[in-house]
């Protein structure tokens, strides 16, 4: 999570934490037009994202019975998204409604994509549990074509779900371009800190799912010191690699127009179809 903001190239790595602690010290200011949703919304969002963090393997996995169902993860993220949209609508400002409609447009397109990816993982491993999936996939030595295609698809799905650059710019506050920021524009103080923190956690959870479901080389499968150490080190390297990739994408691409960005989704769905065909036939 520390290096999420590598794209800045300049500000300190712990700068987001300074911002968060500064925001946490402030009180809450709530618009008098807004209802109870704005009051409880940020806590619900933070709670749901922290819950998802407990459902995923980080550098140790096993075949034991654990909670880690993919559907629970996706629906927890659904809760996050729904409350963000509701907060945007609730603040009864123009930008909030606009951001909400855009966000629901994007997520409407991204939802079938995530389902396709889940179907692919199920066909590949016969399991919905993230722990089991990463355990089974860590045994693979040569990845086949379908696996790689799905990996690329999932990377772009991560960019879409976390409002990253080809779809939305997370830093801007220009009224025409913001999507995620537009919804939380009315929040301040500790509420804003909760929402920001939950968006960082969300990005990192998605990246860990990517790492552990698709490239789980070196993950610890036995509970010994050396295996855990190897798992930890390889995990850190893979995470830094992924974040570097995201930073490169963010600095080289420009944000595309809303409908032009939405044209990527049929491409993703088509890639999902191809991947499922390949895994089903081969």
């Amino acid at each position: 999570m520390k290096a999420t903001l590598r794209g800045y190239r300049g500000s300190s790595v712990v700068q987001p934490y300074y911002d968060l602690s500064k925001l946490l010290k402030k009180g809450r200011v709530i618009s008098n037009r807004s209802s109870f949703i704005t009051t409880i919304g940020p806590m619900v969002i933070l709670g749901a994202t922290i819950t998802t963090a407990f459902f995923i393997p980080v550098f140790y996995t096993s075949m034991e019975k654990t909670i880690g169902n993919l559907f629970i993860l996706m629906f927890a993220f659904g809760i996050v998204k729904m409350f963000t949209v509701l907060i945007g609508l609730d603040s009864s400002s123009t930008f909030g409604g606009m951001g909400s409609s855009r966000e629901s447009f994007i997520s409407m397109m991204a939802e079938p994509l995530i389902l396709f990816l889940m179907i692919f993982l199920y066909i590949e491993t016969n399991d919905f549990n993230v722990f089991h999936i990463s355990f089974i996939n860590s045994k693979i030595v040569h990845y086949d074509t379908a696996h790689l295609i799905t990996m690329v698809t999932f990377v772009i799905a991560i960019l879409a779900e976390n409002a990253r650059i080809p779809f939305d710019n997370p830093e801007t506050h220009l009224e025409l371009t913001m999507m995620h920021e537009a919804m939380i524009l009315d929040l301040s103080g500790s509420d804003l800190a909760y929402v920001e923190l939950s968006s960082y956690i969300k990005l990192i959870v998605y990246l860990i799912i990517l790492i552990n479901c698709f490239i789980p080389i070196g993950i610890a499968t036995t509970f010994t010191i050396s295996a855990l150490l190897i798992g930890f080190i390889s995990f850190i390297f893979k995470l830094l690699f992924c974040l570097l990739g995201i930073a490169i994408i963010e600095t080289t691409f420009a944000k595309s127009r809303l409908f032009r960005g939405a044209e990527l989704f049929p491409a993703m769905i088509s890639m999902g179809i191809v991947a499922i065909t390949l895994i089903y036939i081969l």
């Binding site: 040569h142 990845y143 086949d144 074509t145 790689l148 295609i149 690329v152 044209e263 049929p266 491409a267 769905i269 088509s270 890639m271 999902g272 179809i273 191809v274 065909t277 390949l278 036939i281």
Partner: protein, 203 residues
């Protein structure tokens, strides 16, 4: 290794089928041809035949270096860089591409040869690009992708002689050259390279 190259081929062909800007289409075409050239070289390394080496080097030289140069030069001369109106819009053409690849792999699921299936998938995508676009330059790229499919298809057969393989590659190069000149003349005559205006020739 070969799996990763096949992945590059499939993903680039899916992106080519819906993207509007000619620069991006050319970049996708370069990636695809480089992957095909590397596959052929890898096959040559595994089997030790000289044919594969020659074919791979020819593919890389013509399709990664010469043909993109011709395309970018003609694009610069014509001052067009994107195709605004498509006959089949991007949403539908992505989905058609996916279904096309699915059919290609589904029909041939008895055979164990991945190159054969990917080659036939590339045939479908090339034909789609030729049919669904209006500008002559993208139709040319469609034909070149079709021709990439032929190269991949005939590496799986491995019974054709070197003369025919080299003939296929040079045919693509000649086509690109001729089309580069032709497109320039079409542009001069009709003030546009939109193929719809060819109907004016009726009289």
């Amino acid at each position: 290794m070969i799996q990763a190259l096949l992945t590059i081929i499939l993903i680039s062909s899916i992106f080519i089928s819906g993207v509007r800007r000619i620069k991006l289409i050319t970049a996708g075409f370069i990636f695809q041809s480089a992957a095909i050239g590397l596959i052929v070289l890898k096959l040559g390394y595994e089997t030790g035949k000289v044919d594969y080496y020659i074919l791979g080097i020819l593919t890389i030289v013509t399709k990664v270096i010469i043909i993109p140069l011709i395309i970018t030069r003609s694009v610069k001369k014509l001052k067009i860089n994107r195709e605004m109106e498509l006959i089949v819009n991007a949403f539908v053409s992505y989905i058609i591409t996916g279904i096309g690849i699915m059919i290609a792999f589904g029909i041939l699921n008895k055979s164990q040869d991945n190159f054969l299936k990917t080659g036939i998938a590339l045939f479908i995508i090339g034909v789609l690009l030729m049919v669904a676009r209006k500008k002559a330059i993208t139709q040319m790229i469609g034909f070149l992708i079709f021709e990439n499919g032929i190269v991949l298809f005939e590496t799986s057969l491995s019974k054709m002689s070197l003369v025919i393989e080299a003939g296929i590659v040079f045919e693509g190069l000649m086509l690109a050259l001729i089309m580069g000149i032709m497109i320039f003349h079409i542009n001069k005559t009709f003030d546009s390279i939109n193929t719809d205006f060819f109907e004016n020739l009726k009289e």
